[in-house]
């Protein structure tokens, strides 16, 4: 996409007056609302919404935003983002990730704790919160690590971190490998009813693998990561959840077999949830093509059968959330031989458009697609977000549902100029992003 205009200056001042967003298609997955109408914000909160709200009859001093018939929905809540600050600011910062987020319609994101230093104590958690207040574009939350120093052995001070505002606990891109440690983590977290999020990958099976194990990896001469690496860890964890009755969330699932396990666990009544990311329902392993490092992801892009299973799991409710899995990498980490390249892709700015393919392709209703990125993650993380209702924070995204564009990694706002979706034609453009009543992103009419 061409011109972008990130609203600066005014964006950080708290919103005060009334704004009426009129001539909109209101979409609220939580209530099932899909109707033409308007929405009024007063200061930082939603004051009213409904089909009757228009530019007429608004009190004097109300700013009018004509939505041009486009979609007005709760801002996206992205539960899996790596921001790289502190520690790897050359890849991404809290400021640059925030700009990317609001450009993608994301009004709240939760950061993984795999920074340097790690978010494994209250001080680092408070540092992230302070930087988020300074940047003040989207809302920023953070997980803390499950184990001290990400060593997979000793538990972090989950109670104190929980009190200090940690949204949940995860060892980020590392799995909690030792089953006794995972058992105790799930058990201990229960005292605070805290969520434990697993990167489900059996590390010994994944080994030095660089892509999905299978025919393509064999032809390319690349070591593979088998489906079983994900499956075994999910199976194991579900047994531990059964023992501990903990709250467990499996992140970025990519395989049919692991999703089947989650499906059955939910039927048994376990408190388990899971998410996936756009690459796993929109791409398959053939995207690696000729050693394309932009498509080197963790978990790896899987087979076409797995991709279809992910779509099916989105349809039947097995998957609770779509997260961007934003994993920024700099050029030096990607412009290298495939084996040496880092895992990960920029994801914040393509989350909405790629997810809307599920709607445009006829797989899911529009409200369902939005639900997976708004009210579901918000409820799962117990954040009072993701809804259009009076009194709720005025976190909104206005988007043109149909407008086509082509993803161009070089034009990403993120510092990470790579995307597994580079050059992909998509539909759906974010026009305006509002956080607490503040317009934090506005796209040029020409854009």
């Amino acid at each position: 996409m061409a011109a972008r205009d990130i609203a600066q200056g005014d964006a950080r001042k708290p919103a005060t007056g009334r704004v009426a967003y009129v001539n909109a298609r209101l979409l609220d997955p939580a209530s099932g609302l899909d109707a033409k109408g308007g929405l009024v914000t007063d200061g930082e909160a939603i004051a009213a919404l409904g089909p009757e709200i228009s530019a007429k009859g608004q009190p004097e001093g109300t700013a009018i935003v004509d939505c041009g018939g486009h979609c007005l929905a709760p801002g996206l809540v992205d539960m899996r983002v790596q921001v790289r600050e502190p520690g790897e600011e050359h890849k991404e910062t809290i400021a640059s990730a925030s700009r990317a987020a609001v450009a993608g319609g994301v009004t709240a994101m939760v950061c993984l704790p795999n920074t340097e230093p790690l978010i494994d104590d209250v001080a680092v958690l408070e540092f992230v919160a302070r930087r988020a207040r300074e940047v003040k574009l989207c809302k920023i939350f953070a997980y803390a690590t499950v184990t001290k120093g990400l060593k997979g052995e000793a538990l972090t001070e989950m109670g104190l971190l929980n009190e200090a505002g940690a949204t949940g606990f995860t060892d980020g891109t590392a799995a909690v490998s030792n089953p006794q440690v995972m058992r105790r983590a799930l058990s201990y977290a229960r005292a605070f009813d805290a969520l434990v999020i697993q990167h489900p990958e059996e590390k010994h099976l994944a080994g030095t693998g660089a892509m999905n194990e299978g025919e393509i990896a064999t032809r390319l001469g690349l070591p593979g990561i088998p489906v079983a690496a994900e499956l075994i860890m999910v199976e194991r964890d579900l047994r531990l959840v059964e023992m501990t009755q903990g709250r467990y969330h499996a992140a970025h699932l990519s395989t049919a077999l692991a999703l089947d396990e989650i499906r059955q666990a939910k039927r048994r009544g376990l408190r388990v949830t899971c998410d996936t990311a756009p690459p796993y329902f929109a791409l398959n392993e053939s995207a690696v093509g000729d050693y394309r490092t932009f498509a080197k992801l963790s978990p790896p892009l899987r087979s076409e059968d797995d991709r279809r299973a992910v779509v099916a799991a989105l349809k039947d409710g097995t998957i609770d959330v779509i997260a961007s899995d934003h994993a920024p990498q700099d050029q030096d980490s990607k412009r290298v031989p495939f084996m040496q390249a880092e895992f990960g892709t920029s994801g914040l700015e393509t989350l909405l458009a790629v997810s809307l393919e599920l709607y445009h392709g006829g797989h899911l209703p529009l409200l369902k697609v939005l639900e997976l990125m708004t009210v579901r993650p918000a409820d799962l993380l117990r954040l009072p977000l993701g809804r259009l209702k009076p009194g709720a924070p005025a976190d909104l995204v206005l988007f043109d549902l149909d407008r086509p564009w082509q993803i161009d990694a070089d034009l990403l706002v993120s510092k990470s100029k790579n995307s597994a979706f580079d050059e992909r034609p998509v539909q759906g453009v974010v026009l305006r992003t509002v956080v607490d009543g503040r317009a934090v992103f506005l796209r040029d009419a020409a854009g």
Partner: protein
């Protein structure tokens, strides 16, 4: 009182050994507590010595370090006129590779009347008791039982509140590894108290609820309306992250301070089997609150309870030196 055929007795306590509280009847517990009560006064006199156990030999066999329990047994036996030998880890032949049973047989050959045994292994005292002729008292076996501690706790409570029946007692801390917790749960349940256990989930095994207690991980909720708060010691090796992330966090959520104590009854009493980790499981202010802390009284009751146990168990043995049984 009914006496068992296998162990004829007219003492009202038809057991050769004291291996645990589990299985004791209310009347048997009451008998021990009543008898202990009579020794409390004796222990406060300038002349504390009696001849009830004259001629008897007691061996303290401790495979774990202990100050108060061992001293308490030693004083109890000496005040009753018995000869006492202390054997502890450092000087036992177990260090030289002898098995527990061989050590037991060796000591048995010297005809001790009472063996008081502490071991880090659950069930080891039961095993040993099957191989000796005298009476065996369990002074703590692994995470299993510590019966004299539960008895002294019960005596302390009874003296202060006049009863055990109907009281609500919260046992807090490392429930999972605690023999004190298990013995107290059995005793208090047998005597009609309501028992709660409070611990981080990692130190509170799910099946504990099957022992007839209410389980809590939130301490303020667990202490709600309690008459007695019984704190347990948390061993330092369990505070490094495996069970509990840190001392700081443990104290914040499971350490007894006035803030958490607020939910208990206004006159709730505080107990601790010792040795205490101040600032880990208990705040110093609370531990030293003379109006509410029974911690020192527990130590005093320990001697009396052990005298009562030795008294009853030796009555069940063959008479010493043809003396009166």
């Amino acid at each position: 009182m009914k006496t068992s055929a296998a162990q004829p007795s007219n003492t009202g306590f038809p057991h050769r050994h004291l291996l645990g509280i589990e299985g004791l009847k209310p009347a048997e517990i009451t008998l021990l507590l009543d008898l202990a009560e009579s020794y409390v006064e004796q222990n406060r006199q300038p002349d504390k010595k009696r001849a009830v156990l004259r001629g008897r030999t007691l061996i303290n066999l401790f495979f774990e370090t202990s100050t108060r329990t061992r001293t308490s047994f030693e004083l109890a036996a000496k005040r009753m006129g018995a000869d006492v030998i202390n054997i502890s880890v450092g000087d036992s032949a177990i260090k030289k590779g002898e098995t527990l049973l061989d050590t037991a047989m060796t000591l048995n050959a010297m005809h001790p009347d009472v063996l008081v045994v502490r071991t880090p292994f659950s069930g080891a005292v039961n095993l040993l008791s099957q191989k000796v002729n005298g009476a065996v008292v369990n002074a703590g076996d692994g995470s299993h039982e510590h019966p004299t501690q539960a008895l002294l706790d019960a005596l302390t409570i009874r003296r202060r509140l006049g009863r055990l029946q109907g009281l609500t007692v919260a046992i807090c801390g490392d429930i999972s590894h605690s023999r004190v917790a298990r013995s107290n749960v059995h005793l208090l349940n047998t005597m009609g108290a309501r028992v709660r256990v409070v611990a981080p989930p990692t130190l509170l095994p799910g099946p504990f609820a099957r022992l007839g207690v209410e389980c809590f991980t939130d301490m303020r909720k667990g202490l709600e309306g309690c008459d007695i708060v019984m704190m347990l010691r948390l061993q330092s090796e369990r505070m490094q992250g495996a069970y509990v992330p840190s001392v700081h966090e443990y104290f914040r959520f499971w350490g007894l301070d006035y803030e958490k104590l607020e939910t208990a009854k206004p006159d709730a009493l505080i107990m601790h089997p010792g040795p205490m980790n101040r600032g880990v499981e208990i705040d110093s202010e609370v531990a030293d609150d003379l109006g509410r802390s029974l911690i020192r009284e527990q130590v005093e009751m320990g001697v009396a309870v052990r005298m009562a146990c030795l008294d009853v168990l030796t009555r069940n043995l063959a008479p010493a030196n043809g003396g009166a049984a």
